[in-house]
Symmetry: C2
DNA sequence: TATTGTTATACTCTATAACTATA
DNA sequence: TATAGTTATAGAGTATAACAATA
């Protein structure tokens, strides 16, 4: 009885092949995401940009003067959740909030020189991490994967 | 100036096409995962099984008498994190911890009749949710996606 | 010594609701 | 009335470290 269980558990391929979970997109998305996430953090190091901070900085560099509301929308998160992210970017002098003439409610987000530089260095590190982590996938497979993942988001 | 920003932000396709983020597997995995996660929760309802509880129950039904350590390993989480999940399954009478003769450290996890039934009903709900949510993807595309996601996990 | 289950604790990420200052 | 940013707060989900019981 115990022997049988052990076999089932240790025989990973068999488990993967037969488990209902393995046929679910959600479960497989989560497992894959957590693997990439962990490797991302390891690649950027202890004091490196956290994934969500990296994403925010990326869009601020690409769209300087973007507002927090617009950025939150692009990132798919709530405005309130973005505050801590921008706080960190400002604390580290990578971004600063600047007043906007015609609407005093708004604060435009502007990347600093250091912010831009840090971002581009981090981006290269992230690309290396993905290239290495996903070396089992061909370029074509990676393209296909990206296309399918975006299709889920585009609904 | 403000106009220009607004255009950039509202033009989603352009943003997606040109953003460095959009070329990253990690970012796209996360976005897709969160969409599926949210829909999963909506599909199973307020008092439905949480994703991680569903996953645990699925493997317990498939591998009755599995130990917590073995289950944690299959799920890719820590033993300590599994305790609350099993607590909930036991509280809801879907699973019970049972003593194992030859090793008194171990407690085998056994699904109840109600647990099995609840699982199979939930599985059908999950399958419907995925079918509906991912209706833009062909069966072939879904298979490809699953294959690629598993490939990331298999390292 | 090593392993199983457990507890305590903390961290990350996110959401909701309510506030303020502006529009 | 509505919007932008903010705060307070709570809830998932996870990890690490230490412990007791057992091997």
């Amino acid at each position: 009885m115990r022997k049988k269980i052990k076999d089932q558990v240790s025989d990973k391929d068999d488990a993967q092949a037969t488990s209902a979970l393995e046929e679910l997109v959600g479960y497989n998305l989560k497992r894959a995401y957590l693997i990439v996430l962990e490797d991302f953090r390891a690649a950027l190091g202890e004091d490196g940009l956290a994934p969500r901070v990296f994403s925010a900085l990326s869009l601020i560099v690409q769209f300087p003067d973007i507002t927090q509301s617009a950025l939150a929308k692009m990132l798919g998160i709530e405005r309130s959740g973005l505050v801590a992210i921008i706080d960190e970017l400002e604390r580290r002098k990578f971004v600063h909030r600047t007043a906007v003439p015609n609407d005093r409610r708004v604060q435009a987000l502007v990347p600093s020189e250091a912010g831009s530089k840090t971002y581009h260095v981090a981006l290269e590190a992230v690309r290396r991490h993905e290239t290495e982590l996903l070396s089992d996938l061909s370029c074509e497979e990676k393209d296909t994967l990206l296309k399918l993942l975006r299709k889920i988001r585009d609904n």
